[in-house]
Symmetry: C2
Subunit: 251 residues, 2 copies
Amino acid sequence: MTVKAATRLYVEADLGAGVPLALGAPQTHYLRNVLRLEAGAAIALFNGRDGEWLGRVQELGRNSGTVLVEELSREQVPEPDLWLVFAPIKRARIDFMVEKATELGVGAFRPVLTRRSVVDRINTERLGAVAIEAAEQSERLSVPSIAEPVKLDRFLAGWPEGRRLILCEETGLAPPIAEALSGIEKGVPAAILIGPEGGFEESELDAIRQYPFVTRAGLGIRVLRADTAALAALAVFQALNGDWGQRRHRP
Amino acid sequence: MTVKAATRLYVEADLGAGVPLALGAPQTHYLRNVLRLEAGAAIALFNGRDGEWLGRVQELGRNSGTVLVEELSREQVPEPDLWLVFAPIKRARIDFMVEKATELGVGAFRPVLTRRSVVDRINTERLGAVAIEAAEQSERLSVPSIAEPVKLDRFLAGWPEGRRLILCEETGLAPPIAEALSGIEKGVPAAILIGPEGGFEESELDAIRQYPFVTRAGLGIRVLRADTAALAALAVFQALNGDWGQRRHRP
């Protein structure tokens, strides 16, 4: 079957052949009023667990609709287990960072409060919507999770065993990121840590470096904004240690 | 001397010890009303040619001011000769891309018109201001140039000898970027080519691939927006073939 899906939607429900799927008001509105789809239109569906499925619109009412799930179009494949650990930044920049990091394959956003953090809250609901839209557009099979901010020292004290933390330093003292990544076994769970605008405090940086799960990495000779550093480190990670060695599925 | 500069400004004039520098209205306004500097304040200056200099504010009037250039603080060093060749995109995204790409060390922005280009103009004045501000903040010693858009086929027909063009494909058929870059000699002039939203037309892609100066590269299994692809490719280039092998000068 080479049906062209009109769009690609993330849903929470289980997916399988013959499953009828109830759409909420926002998705119904999007299909009906933005894309102007009608009964019979094919759309792609994913939920982060069951692969991607083709479904067929059955009904689009004013506030609800149904889709019949028909056929598996892509198997669920494991994705790199990669966290982005970052200090919250201002609204436009954090939205942009979440969008781009989702495209680049982040599995979880883990905001942390550092000593120089200026912003101490994030809107997980808004950022969740940004992540879902980016996942839908990027043909990902999952949506990254977004946690509430926690204090960095507490977060590191409870660090999960077996996960590597790549500390992006702007001190000029850390090995270049390509060299740093070559020391990390491919496929192990990893996290990228980006400091706040203005950087970590020196004593804070010292404390982070003491942890045995930390790999220090430098991002070149220019000063990068926090969001630029996050995207750059993610791209280099995916190219060298992540899944960019694979070639893209072509729909 | 370990004077801490209050800010860092890009200027067009030649820089050298004892040179008096006239400031225009926007820079005077910034120093006087935004930073609230007074006579005697130290600022850093660069022009892309003479390295970075420390200067001292002499006078800040309503619309003009003067700075006395005092001492060289950083030698001018060669930067990677790296172009970003891209199809113009919408305003918020292009501003963001220019800011980030400037931090990532792009030497020249070369917009091109492709068959599926939707936007066919750019505001070089506004983007120039974005690039200057990003260069000032990133501690670069130069500001990237921004050209007017030209048709892609004409641009490639007049391609400069000795410059490698890295064609970022989303076909799933190109070698992963890390592998592709390993085939390019380090230090040769290079350019990264990113297609428009929606991608190149198939016949357009075929024509690009025929050129002997083209290296094809893939950016993984997810679909990236044009601006994400540009930043990701630049970061990987700098990490593997550019100047991220060097450690950062620490002011």
